[in-house]
């Protein structure tokens, strides 16, 4: 198996599929959908063996591939996976299939370009998770933007152009900072070792003094925080979600947001552990604010998609908080929460899409009493909602509890504040559910809505399966990602100690100004 360029196939199969689709004449809707589904399904099948082939305990990259790419710059085509990225890749391939199948009837205009964009986006996402050369990572990171921009800007709602540009600019602003930071890492490494490389492993070995760490960390952190999105960088999210087509929202929420949290785990924390620790109070505070703020604002949203969007802000706050507990439970919880949020929030957006397709509205006030005409839809919605609010027995609980456990050990007060999210999530979700599903049918149009079709049921079946699987038996997931998380934690701690031992750390006046000035600047 070692000779199969597995990761390359995984990355570029969807792109090849996209190219194939573009060769079809635009009028052949069925063929386009069929091909898109086939490609996404083939990609899923291709990715599944990773689940078994991954050796969790093994340190270092697995399925590694390395070829020179831009020898002049020292950039290489370097791919590798570990428990963290494998989980996220699997999440991507599963949800991509569901997003494709879920879009059959939703997308009518320019279906060919739509599916091609969706598949191209998959290439970008998987590449971002698997690249371990920073320039390559950056290319994939930026490459994701274009198809997502198109998905929102072409197939979106009435304010799609505003939302698409807002999404693009927000993310670009962060990315540019990150690019500058990547380049400085490159030069630092070249000055120190004399080799020109963008290789992550090389940067993992690069000693960086505390003072330099601070700025570099901030550059990365802002790029990732926008993507997460952390409060107060979140306002692009509700607009992007509201305007995006269902599949766009699903992928955006389920995968794209994870790029931010993944970026922290893979890059920002292990590369700059001293600065990360220095800025931790800020990140923790913003995460807790995000948990509570997102939940409160979600509560008063009249639009279903906005409600789910703000709930994402709250859930991702849990991810960030668990990560910054910097212990085994917190990190595992954070990672679980990433997967769970992908599953349940992705499903929530699909559920909103189901009624939107039938009624062309997403306003909660336009619904009410839907359980009666749509009992199967109601039951699915119920299970997904329970997963989203973290009911024990569903996946959501595992992530939330582990996060709280880790956070409590780091600082009990954080856990107390974050746990209020447990109450608030029940409030906004149940209230929404009550207004949408319960009560008498208040609008005559809703009386004759048709329940989930077979295709839709097939989309939700794997989601429900995953919800209970992770809820009752999370160990297969946990044991696959834990060694990688432990390794990351260990790496961060080693690098932190080494940096602090560097002579520069003790020189007064070098480390202090950057670190001290910055909080004031933010304030």
């Amino acid at each position: 198996m070692a000779h199969v360029p597995w990761l390359t196939l995984l990355i570029f199969l969807p792109l090849a599929g996209a190219a194939l689709i573009m060769l079809l004449p635009p009028s052949r809707g069925r063929a386009i959908r069929g091909l898109a589904t086939g490609v996404a399904a083939a990609e899923l099948v291709l990715s599944l063996p990773l689940w078994w082939l991954l050796v969790p305990g093994q340190t270092g990259w697995q399925f590694e591939e390395r070829h020179p790419w831009l020898p002049l710059l020292g950039a290489s085509y370097h791919l590798g996976a570990d428990g963290i990225s494998v989980m996220l890749v699997l999440l991507t391939t599963v949800l991509s299939v569901l997003a494709v199948v879920g879009s059959y009837t939703a997308v009518e205009k320019r279906a060919r370009e739509f599916y091609a964009s969706l598949l191209a986006l998959e290439t970008g996402m998987i590449g971002t998770f698997l690249a371990i050369d920073l320039l390559l990572f950056y290319v994939f990171w930026e490459a994701m933007l274009v198809p997502m921009y198109l998905l929102i800007g072409v197939w979106g709602g009435p304010r799609r152009v505003y939302a698409a540009i807002k999404f693009f600019l927000y993310t670009m602003a962060g990315s540019v900072l990150m690019l500058v930071a990547i380049l400085s890492l490159y030069y630092m490494n070249r000055n120190l070792t004399g080799t020109a490389t963008f290789d992550l492993d090389a940067f993992y070995r690069l000693p960086i003094g505390p003072a330099q760490q601070s700025l570099l960390f901030l550059a990365f952190a802002v790029a990732f925080a926008i993507k997460v999105p952390m409060f107060p960088f979140h306002t692009w999210l509700p607009d992007a979600h509201v305007e995006a087509p269902t599949a766009g929202s699903v992928i955006l929420a389920a995968i794209l947001l994870k790029m931010g949290t993944f970026g922290f785990i893979r890059y920002a924390i292990p590369l700059f552990p001293v600065a990360s620790a220095h800025w931790a109070p800020w990140i923790v505070t913003l995460s807790i604010v995000g948990i509570i703020y997102g939940a409160l604002v979600a509560m008063v949203q009249p639009d279903l998609k906005k409600l789910v969007a703000y709930s994402s802000v709250s859930h991702l706050g849990f991810c960030m908080l668990g990560m910054y507990a910097m212990n085994a439970q917190g990190l595992a919880g954070s990672m679980m929460q990433m997967i769970n949020h992908g599953i349940s929030t992705g499903a929530l957006f699909m559920l909103v899409g189901v009624v939107y397709e039938r009624r062309h509205t997403r306003m909660i006030a336009d619904f009410g009493g839907l359980w009666k005409p749509l009992p199967v839809y109601g039951a699915v919605f119920l299970v997904v909602m329970l997963s989203s609010i973290g009911l024990p027995g569903t996946n959501g609980f595992i992530g939330e509890f582990l996060v709280l456990l880790g956070v409590f050990r780091a600082a009990p007060l954080w856990a107390v504040l974050a746990a209020t999210g447990v109450i608030l999530s029940a409030v906004y979700m149940l209230w929404m559910f009550q207004r949408v599903m319960f009560g008498p049918v208040t609008h005559a149009e809703n009386q004759k809505l048709s329940d989930l079709t077979l295709r839709e049921r097939l989309v939700f079946a794997p989601i429900i399966l995953l919800i209970f699987w992770i809820g009752f038996a999370p160990q297969p997931f946990l044991s696959r990602m834990q060694p990688a998380l432990d390794h990351t934690l260990e790496l961060a701690n080693q690098r932190k100690e080494r940096s602090l031992r560097m002579p520069e750390a003790r020189a007064p006046g070098t480390a202090a100004p950057v670190a001290d000035r910055a909080p004031g600047a933010v304030r």
């Binding site: 604002v297 085994a328 359980w371 329970l386 024990p392 456990l405 109450i423 149940l430 319960f438």
Partner: protein, 637 residues
């Protein structure tokens, strides 16, 4: 281990849920009923089998642990799906499956005409699964699965008739109130794990005395947090307001979930972790005081309610208060004893009320009942037994358990708690007989319509009533007071509560004990006599009393305006804050800034666009100017 002993008990109702989902539409009502009742009946049989095996063990090692699988393990944290049977969970398990089975059977008749028959039994079976997981779990985390699981089923079943907005609202309220409690439960678990490194009962209780100094802040906070969870689930002050509203659910649900089983989970939890509470005397004191306060407070509200189910709901809140009172004074056995007898007579009261409601074509208002004794003989007879039992008339079940709580409270030196309990007992007798008289005695106040349809319920409903009446009558005999070496129930529970503080309190002299018994019986008699005078003998008295005690009557009629208070203090402010955050902070400030940046760029580029004229001449001009500037700059060096 040959055949699974414990996990099969919760697994049976879960399997029924699965089957119902898969093939329920082909089973029809009969098949569904058989499936649902059969699973729970079988679970009861397995519970009996397991308890018999437990009883066969020598007293000192009466615990059976069954490990199913490792649920999660992260770093030094691990939690298993494992089940524990000891005398305490044995009692719970028998009560849950036994009373649960009777209520399932009753529901077949009660829900016969409901179009959502199948969905009802689906939820009911799911509830049994969650409740059995709760009581059989051998660690806090698995208990929490059951704990929130029963909360979910409660939510679904309260809102069962979801088309009624009030039902949907009540379901949500119950869930949210419970979540507030669960916030405490979760934090309590976190604190315990952070300090003691385990959430498994045995290990945790063994370690606890070594890591927590008795009375230390950490253990006090941890137990108070757990108790916050209990106040949510068991409807105690300050989180009780959801339970009366929960009466929106079908009556069998009120009997099963909101009287006999789920709401007692808080009491079970406190009893289960008594080793922790005993390390925190301040927490125990809090439990006693909250229990006593709730017992009295809810009893007063029960005096003036006109909805038959709401009277019973407040009565349940009040009786749960007695159970906490018992735990708080260290008399855990008495608390669980009352939990058991209460399950019998309160389930019976609800089912009886359901039978009345059924007979009267969904009439629930006591003011439009009366004189039903002759028309509904079975319902009347069994209800009378239950009413006497809850009032505390010997030798019925409620007498023994309530008397034990009161005498334990007195013996442990909590005379204030005892007095509150005694007054509460008189009020209980009063409001229960008020209910009984208004429903069954006196002249009929039925509408013509209701009178016409009046009928006794079918056997599937009557038989459970009779069985429960028998249990309410004799169920207390396992706990006769003043016996050498403790009574039967106490001896059964001894391995669990051995050495628990209150149990060891100095025994009362027979003289004191008799005095206490006489007093509590007198209180009950007084209450009954009061109700008899007020509602049967002197028809105008009730109105005169209402007039005389106008302020008090208004207060209890409006439930002391607590719901309104919570609305004004919590719900409305949070809602307005959220609106403000969204509209002002998110849309004005943050987006204002973002858009501001965009507009700035747009303005700048509009300005820059002026230079992009497209005329070669202009560009040549700029070019020349630029070259000039550079040359000048270079020249100055």
């Amino acid at each position: 281990m040959n055949f699974p002993l414990l996990w099969i008990i919760p697994a049976l109702p879960l399997a029924a849920v699965g089957l119902n989902l898969l093939i329920g539409d082909r089973l029809g009502k009969r098949g569904t009923a058989w499936l649902a009742c059969g699973a729970v009946g079988l679970a009861f049989a397995f519970a009996v089998r397991a308890v018999l095996r437990l009883a066969g063990l020598p007293e000192a090692d009466r615990t059976i642990v069954e490990n199913a699988y490792t649920w999660m393990r992260v770093g030094d944290f691990s939690a298993s799906v494992a089940f524990l049977l000891d005398p305490l969970s044995a009692v719970m398990c028998l009560v849950v499956t036994g009373v649960g089975f009777l209520i399932h059977v009753y529901s077949v008749g009660y829900m016969a005409h409901d179009p959502s028959f199948r969905r009802f039994f689906l939820y009911l079976n799911l509830f049994m699964f969650a409740m059995l997981t709760l009581v059989l779990a051998d660690n806090f985390l698995l208990m929490f699965v059951g704990w929130e699981g029963v909360g979910l089923c409660s939510y679904l079943l309260i809102g069962f008739w979801y088309e009624r907005p009030s039902a949907a609202e009540a379901g949500k309220k119950a869930f949210v109130m419970n979540r507030i409690g669960d916030f405490g439960f979760i934090l309590g678990m976190l604190l315990l794990f952070a300090w003691a490194g385990s959430l498994q009962y045995d290990r945790l209780f063994a370690i606890a005395p070594h890591v927590f100094v008795k009375g230390a802040a950490a253990i006090t906070i941890a137990t108070l947090l757990l108790f916050l969870g209990a106040t949510g689930k068991s409807a105690q002050i300050p989180l009780y307001t959801w339970l009366p509203d929960a009466m929106e659910g079908p009556t069998p649900v009120s009997a099963l979930i909101h009287a006999a089983t789920m709401v007692t989970a808080g009491v079970y939890m406190v009893a289960r972790c008594h080793p922790l509470f005993l390390l925190a005397p301040a927490s125990l004191e809090t439990v006693a005081v909250v229990g006593a306060a709730t017992a009295l407070f809810a009893a007063t509200i029960g005096l003036a309610q006109n909805d038959i189910k709401r009277v019973l709901a407040y009565s349940t809140v009040s009786q749960l208060g007695y159970m906490f009172m018992a735990c708080g004074v260290g008399a855990f056995t008495a608390g669980i004893f009352h939990l058991m007898t209460h399950a019998f007579f309160k389930a019976l009261l609800f089912l009886g009320a359901g039978s009345v409601i059924h007979a009267l074509s969904d009439e629930q208002d006591l003011r439009r009942m009366g004189g039903l004794a002759g028309k509904l003989p079975w319902t009347h007879g069994t209800m009378l037994v239950a009413t006497l039992a809850i009032a505390g008339i010997p030798p019925l079940a409620g007498f023994f358990s309530k008397d034990e709580i009161l005498s334990r409270a007195f013996a442990s030196g909590h005379s204030g708690v005892w007095l509150v309990g005694l007054v509460g007992a008189a009020l209980t007798a009063f409001y229960m007989f008020r209910l009984y008289i208004l429903a069954f005695r006196g002249p009929s106040r039925l509408s013509h319509e209701a009178e016409h349809h009046l009928h006794e319920s079918p056997p599937s409903m009557i038989i459970p009533l009779v069985v429960l009446a028998a249990l309410s009558a004799v169920g207390g005999l396992v706990g006769q007071p003043m016996q050498e070496g403790g009574h039967l129930f106490e001896r059964w529970m001894r391995p669990v509560f051995e050495g628990a503080g209150g149990e060891a309190a100095a025994p009362l002299s027979p003289r004191t004990e008799w005095t206490l018994i006489a007093l509590s019986v007198a209180a009950a008699a007084l209450g009954i006599y009061g109700a008899y005078r007020t509602y049967l003998v002197e028809p105008g008295l009730a109105a005169r009393l209402r007039e005389r005690l106008r302020a008090f009557h208004q207060a209890v009629l409006h439930k002391y305006w607590i719901d309104e208070l919570y609305d004004a203090l919590v719900v409305a402010p949070v809602y307005h804050l959220s609106q403000r955050l969204w509209r002002f902070w998110d849309e004005r400030i943050v987006d204002g800034m973002v858009n501001g940046v965009a507009y700035t760029f747009e303005g700048v580029s509009a300005l820059l666009r002026l230079f992009q004229t497209g005329f070669v001449g202009t560009y040549a001009l700029f070019f020349t100017l630029g070259v000039l500037v550079i040359l000048i700059e270079l020249g100055r060096r």
